[in-house]
Amino acid sequence: MDFALQQLVTGLSIGSILLLVALGLAIIYGSMGVINLAHGEFVMLGAYSAWALQAFLGLDLLPSLALIFLMVAALGWLLERAVIRRLYRRPLDTILATWGLGVLLQQLVRLTAGGELRYVQMPETLSHSVTILGVEASAYRVFIFLAAALLFFVTWFLMQRTTIGMKLRAVVQDPGVAACFGINADRVYGLTFAYGAGLAGLAGALVSPLKSVAPEMGTGYVIDAFMVVVLGGVQSLMGTVVSAFLLGELSGVIAFLQNDTVAKALVLLAIVVLIRFRPQGLFVARVRA
């Protein structure tokens, strides 16, 4: 019984980290259809921003989160205007271009900040353990779970209940008709891409006290993020949540029973099998065909 609860909590923690990282991609790929292979680098830039703000301005992690979101979102907006905008409806070119952007960003960071592993300090208030449902867990991991839930709720709210979300959904469905209604598609796309990038940056910053900050940390994250989004069903936010926690729980359990190498392989196999039989993912967005 104890083991089951411990595993549940562990799986929730792994799943919440997956959700954090995948949420930005769920917006960019899910809602906009842009295959952004530089997503991992946005995560990495968020982590580096957290380090830079801490090392050079002495800002602790929690107060600097808003600033990090804005910084990475601004970069995302710039990239969208400069590069991505020209490549809508050209998926192969987008893949190449975003991959190139990713490499560029990685090497830029390596040239300026150096290749060493960097240290981001965990907030003092969260550096202890708490007991949840009789199981001991790190307070910081609980915080990440709450942050992931909050960000998901905010994103859902933005998409479903605000005007900008409605505009985005309109533009995604049919840009021509949306333009007839007076919606500025360019601006909507720009803001959405920026929001997705900002979310990725936040994810990187939040995760950095548990791991290390290195220029190549993004590559692992972009793979995980795509797996979560594709499994959950592109265009479905709910699907992203469910698949994140499903994958988190699954890899946690297999890693506990076997080891992490086996877990990685089996989870990937499970995803492949599932996609084979249900190519549209777990949750399908209903479209009027």
């Binding site: 411990q6 595993q7 562990t10 923690s13 791991k211 290390s212 890693a255 190498t261 990685k264």
Partner: protein, 415 residues
């Protein structure tokens, strides 16, 4: 204008004659004036200055160059100046092989100092063996190699573990959890560790390998909690070290009851994981920056003055430093026209010097180094506290885990 055949043949013959006179070493075999020519002796320095392993390797580059500068400032080797030719293999084993070839063949280096990862060493080995040149390798590694063209100045498993494992069993208990990154170095170290555990009555509760670069350790920590080992013998490397330590601490585990014992966590990794996550865990290595000896104080002082007050010296940069001095010692015994990789190798067998860690010696049989293993505990200020220093230096046995094989002066022998 057309060239007549006669003129063409005359021109070619003249050019050929000029070439053979001007470059005698293309037809004189082993023209030793090529190795130490014009009062200079060329050596290669082959450490990555860019790429993933650059962080560590550039400190090895710095230590090597500093040693060369010291030797030249003191008059060189019998008046010969050492000229370092620095190449950057960019953390890629194939590039290591290319640059090694360039240093040995085109640049005529009599020795090359280089490599951190085993992958890079294995990539350059064919170059040195084919050309019968000499490679000086300063990094701790998994053993199981017996090349006559490499001088190994880093620790092998028996030197790092022979005193460490029994000490851990005595101080903490018998149950060991072995966790490493998924490649050859951790697997060989764990192999040797299991043999020692069997000898000293220890027990392996679990042995697992995580992918390189893996950073999500919550399931592993759950296993720690459920299996309750006395010691976590960790051979994870790179980002994984930092992630494991930080998550261990975030989970509230106690290093006094379940410490992590490592062979690879140095002053560099402690800086990246933060003092809190590092404190209380143990490392076994022949050298720590805080080691108290006159030699080490001089070394650390010179290094910090030369490269910056924020730098650290560690158990790979120290061998990078003293191996150059051993090189100098060997070459000094030879007369300039006798200098070649083969004669240097023969001269360095049995050579001794006082290194920052203590007196070291190159073992004639296997070209590895006698070293002084130490056990230290990390402190929250980013440095180590040395708890145990071995009373005697330890002979290197690269095949200690394979009792049927020994590395001798004539190569690998099956016993």
């Amino acid at each position: 204008m057309s060239i007549k055949r006669r003129d063409f043949l005359k021109g070619t013959a003249a050019a050929g004659a000029a070439a053979s006179v001007g470059f005698p070493h293309i037809w004189i075999k082993d023209a030793s004036l090529a190795w130490a020519a014009g009062g200079e002796i060329k050596v290669g320095v082959l450490f990555s200055l860019t790429g993933t392993t650059a962080i560590i390797e550039e400190s090895l580059n710095k230590a090597t160059l500093m040693a060369i500068e010291e030797i030249n400032a003191a008059g060189g080797i019998n008046g010969l100046k050492i000229v370092p030719i620095v190449e950057d293999p960019a953390s890629d084993p194939a590039t290591f092989a290319d640059k090694a070839r360039k240093l040995v063949v085109s640049d005529n280096c009599v020795s090359v100092f280089g490599s951190y990862t085993s992958a890079s060493r294995k990539a350059v080995l064919p170059v040195f063996e084919k050309r019968n040149s000499l490679y000086w390798y300063p990094t701790l590694y998994e053993g199981r190699e017996c090349s006559k063209n490499v001088i190994y100045t880093g620790a092998v498993p028996n030197q790092q573990q022979d005193e460490f494992i029994p000490w851990l069993i005595k101080n903490f208990g018998k149950k060991f959890y072995l966790i490493g990154s998924n490649y050859i170095y951790p697997k060989e170290e764990n192999n040797y560790c299991k043999k020692l555990l069997e000898k000293y009555g220890g027990e392996v509760v679990n042995e697992e390998y995580v992918p390189l670069g893996h950073s999500e350790f919550s399931s592993v920590i759950n296993k720690f909690k459920s299996m309750q080992p006395n010691v976590i013998f960790s051979t994870v490397v790179g980002d994984s070290v930092v992630a494991l330590h930080r998550q261990y601490r975030a989970a509230g585990l106690d290093p006094e009851k379940m410490p992590m014992a490592s062979l690879t966590t140095s002053e560099n990794e402690i800086a990246a994981m933060g003092g809190d996550a590092a404190a209380g865990h143990f490392t076994s290595a022949p050298y720590f920056m805080v080691h108290k000896s006159a030699e080490n104080e001089r070394f650390v002082d010179a290094y910090l003055r030369r490269w910056g007050k924020d730098k650290v010296t560690h158990f790979v940069s120290e061998p990078s430093y003293f191996q150059v001095h051993l090189f100098k010692q060997a070459v000094a015994k030879l007369s300039p026209k006798d200098i070649s990789p083969t004669t240097i190798r023969e001269a360095v067998k049995g050579a001794e010097m006082i290194a920052p860690q203590g007196r070291v010696r190159i073992e004639a049989d296997n070209l590895h180094t006698w070293l002084w293993p130490k056990i230290a505990r990390a402190r929250s200020n980013g440095q180590f506290e040395v708890l145990v220093e071995s009373k005697e230096w330890l002979k290197p046995l690269p095949y200690a885990a394979y009792p049927g094989q020994t590395c001798t002066a004539d190569g690998l022998k099956q016993t």
